[in-house]
Symmetry: C2
Subunit: 632 residues, 2 copies
Amino acid sequence: MSGDQAVLSPAHVTLEELRELGQQLRVDSIRASTSAGSGHPTSSMSAADLLAVLIARHLRYDWSDPGEAANDHLIFSKGHASPLLYSVFKAVGVVSDDELMTGYRRFGSRLEGHPTPILPWVDVATGSLGQGLPAGVGIALAGRYLDKLPYRVWVLCGDSEMAEGSMWEALDKARYYHLSNLIVIIDVNRLGQRGPTELSWELEAYARRVEAFGGRVLEVDGHDVAAIDKALAHAGEPDSDRPTVLLARTEKGRGFSEVQDREGWHGKPLPADMAQRAIIELGGERNLRVNGLKPQPSGRPQRPGPGDAKVTMPTYTRGAKVATRKAYGDALKALGTRPDVVALDGEVSNSTFADEFAQAYPERYFEMFIAEQQMVAAAVGISTRGYRPFASTFAAFMTRAYDFIRMAAISLADIRLVGSHAGVEIGADGPSQMGLEDLAIFRAVHGSTVLYPSDATTTAALVGAMADQDGVSYMRTTRGAYPVLYAEGEPFPIGGCKVHGATPSDQVTLIGAGVTLHNCLSAAEALRSDGIAARVIDLYSIKPVDTATLAVAARETGRFVLVEDHHPEGGLGEAVLEAMASEGLTGVAVAHLAVSVMPGSGPTEELFNQAGISVDHIAAAARQLIGAAKPG
Amino acid sequence: MSGDQAVLSPAHVTLEELRELGQQLRVDSIRASTSAGSGHPTSSMSAADLLAVLIARHLRYDWSDPGEAANDHLIFSKGHASPLLYSVFKAVGVVSDDELMTGYRRFGSRLEGHPTPILPWVDVATGSLGQGLPAGVGIALAGRYLDKLPYRVWVLCGDSEMAEGSMWEALDKARYYHLSNLIVIIDVNRLGQRGPTELSWELEAYARRVEAFGGRVLEVDGHDVAAIDKALAHAGEPDSDRPTVLLARTEKGRGFSEVQDREGWHGKPLPADMAQRAIIELGGERNLRVNGLKPQPSGRPQRPGPGDAKVTMPTYTRGAKVATRKAYGDALKALGTRPDVVALDGEVSNSTFADEFAQAYPERYFEMFIAEQQMVAAAVGISTRGYRPFASTFAAFMTRAYDFIRMAAISLADIRLVGSHAGVEIGADGPSQMGLEDLAIFRAVHGSTVLYPSDATTTAALVGAMADQDGVSYMRTTRGAYPVLYAEGEPFPIGGCKVHGATPSDQVTLIGAGVTLHNCLSAAEALRSDGIAARVIDLYSIKPVDTATLAVAARETGRFVLVEDHHPEGGLGEAVLEAMASEGLTGVAVAHLAVSVMPGSGPTEELFNQAGISVDHIAAAARQLIGAAKPG
């Protein structure tokens, strides 16, 4: 390795130096992946010249201060090109050669196989293709409409990932929201994992699609640094209200003749001997240091805060019938006095009641139309700028975005998702509209919070708590209007529950949440009239779950009836069983009532009855556990 | 209602009769939804003229024999227009007016809020927008490449749903596979649920997008029956190798001045008085009967079968190290002698080993590139024609298609999905590539089967069983190679498990599946050397789970260590807890080891250790349950 470190500055760097920098990025990508014994060097090599020119001449980034609000953003949507990204980090001086060579893909290192935000220069985790661009749309939305700062969002995409519909949802929303601050670079290297891509090097075909979706298209030879420089300059200075897409014709494995543009080299590190030959062919190791452009400092704090906003949460009268989805809308609107609260919805805001916020704070509301993947990705992107997004649609349609939700957790994003119209409770619309898997899928997300309020008071309190909750939090709301159970001011901590009518002589505990809590309360009444004392637990916090209170009920009553408007797997019932097992609480007799049938359309009560979660079913299950026949 | 029933036949129907039929479909859509008190009449009225001309003049369908293989297919991707679809079924004589008026959206009726295949003329359930067209692509693939029959697939789409990326995945694949048998009708009525769509009536914008994605575009005034007739004739006689997209400019609520092209009328039945006025304005009730075109009978059975194919499953030597993903590829290839077995993959067939089938049976293999939603939808579509599709990608990326998987169950589809590279076991690629939620999401699907073999012998047996399994079945395979545990010919029934080393004096049962089963076996060895008798259960069938065998182990050992390479929620552990609860088996002491941390990159063993699912952790958990300290 050369001992001298040449420093490249934007105004003085020569084309030859840019070429050299590209070769350095290739060599370092090879070295890192060969030393790790895994990784994607050839997918890195195709984009090396693009990145060399971008970081040396165009990206505005204060590498010493990744928290500077005015920094540009750099997202590798093709996250498998992590060797290239980390080689960039070396070139700009924030990662040492030693870390690159000994850390990449090693246990405990921050240089993971695919980039994650445990690195301060990484906004979002990528590696599930088709997600970096949608997240970049979210950051660009924040830049244009919330931060109102002139930063640009540069997203490096692979050509293979253009097969994901989510990429077109992203471009469509970038057009709709006039995101001229978004620059998409597509590394068209022609080869996917197992062979040629659908469109190969048909740049014209990509261009037609991008233009049809409203993007400004630039085309470039992705290995001609002079042409790249010109194209990036053009791309970076928007003269329109459209996003820019730079189509770069490249070669996978470019620069090493044994792999260049050849199949069979995806995701494979070069064996040591090949790596040695590659480095020689690429001109050896280099130690160029990039001293790139910095943004005009914004003088802003790294993250917006609630300021001194006064939030007055809505209150409800006990006994009044209010749908929790309506209470969500009311509470969200109330939170709107906080300048850091943002809302999104998937074209159903008049059903989720997100429209209350949309009407009150249109400047902080983003309509995502029927594009749930993009909705969640936009929330993730917006959250990286410190805002507190709430995104809503029907609970059933949250399933559409599950890969994005899973990745949001890996992105360490703080986002709030709200699914309305959950369960068979919705009635006539039928099973396609019934969220019957949402609790299971959200519980399985790392570090998630899962809430299911049964009344408007609880909903308002929990929406307030969600605003400041870390990680992925999810609230399930109900279509129909049910009585308000709790008085104003009642506390509803996340991880808590509410116990109704506990006495030392309770024979059984009925555990429900949301709509089934109402059925449990009615069942307890029915049992009481039979002389059976039943305790009811409102398990509004499904994750974390209030293990301590459940344990008391287990010890005192010895019998649980678990009732949920959800498939039997992975929801409230299993959350309770898991909590009991973790406490070593054996000996509790359990009846688990859930939706095991395929429901159809019909009135709510008929569907409750068909699913076996009606008031009568709950009371009968309790009696059976107790061994008591119904009197009379 | 008119007592006379005029019968319209394709050759003689007049334009005026077509107009009248359109009005009848509108009137019936209004009557049905008003009588039900819910539904989407205005979304039905916009497409009524399109459907009138289609069924009277172009659709080739033997309504008396929906199983006729040569029938065209009619899919309402905009499933909320079910009043229109059911009014069509009345017009062709398969649903009575009485059923329409008393059944629609009623409990127990087959006329559900959104169409489902409990109706014999419905191929797939719709209602989650953006799914009918992708499923139609699957049927068109079957028509062109498998059935090799000249049927056409007509898909009615809403304009709002064009915001879903999945629609563009579908058009892209329709182009790639030259599906000239696919005709997409987009009902551009300008209004979504809560207001105007993104593109309103910009038919040119839609046209540019469709053309860029390779579709042939036709445009039509969707209320001019003569123009529609011409366009459908053109669309139905493909003169190219492209799918056709007919862009129809329509008005929501067309024909009733109080709602026509007005906001605020999505998904709302007309109140009785308005319905009365509407019917008057539309010219009253009619009773036209359509006697449409029939296809040339194919003489084919309704569904292809395995024929007399001889399937010779691969066998493996005990102790040899074979990855279960490799065994999947071997077994799938072996199944390929059956002409009804079809495979699909999401551009990772060299990792999932679906490429073994692709190379042996290219005519029954469909490369879906990186479009997991379309992959699952294509499998659903292909399955409606009686084929037995297997679709594979990484377990992590099955999450991308979860809404499609959920809907597949509602479609009563028999599909087989296989997710490779599950869990932290994959090592260096990091968390974005680790399926850690897959067991939870698949368990939560109605009627699903969830399998997780630990060795090649088990894998081959279960792949064979999956071929004939109903519903959505899922298999999780492992990246690394582990020893073959079972001998050739060992039976592995779905719903079973394998017990290792049971003795009456076992003190604890270690329960694992897939990769953790190997760790459990090693832990049992370690415990044995300490004098602790541990039984091991290979829970290869996670759903259904072998409750009986688990119950025996619970009674005999009283202690369970549950070990899974999956997040703690919704997977193997909770499946066992649920099974125990259902049996009333209280009193089992349980330790549940699962991946609660956010894993990074690294070697498998380090990641097992970090997650607490290593051999040592299992043995320690067993000792702790028993109350025995590790000797020495």
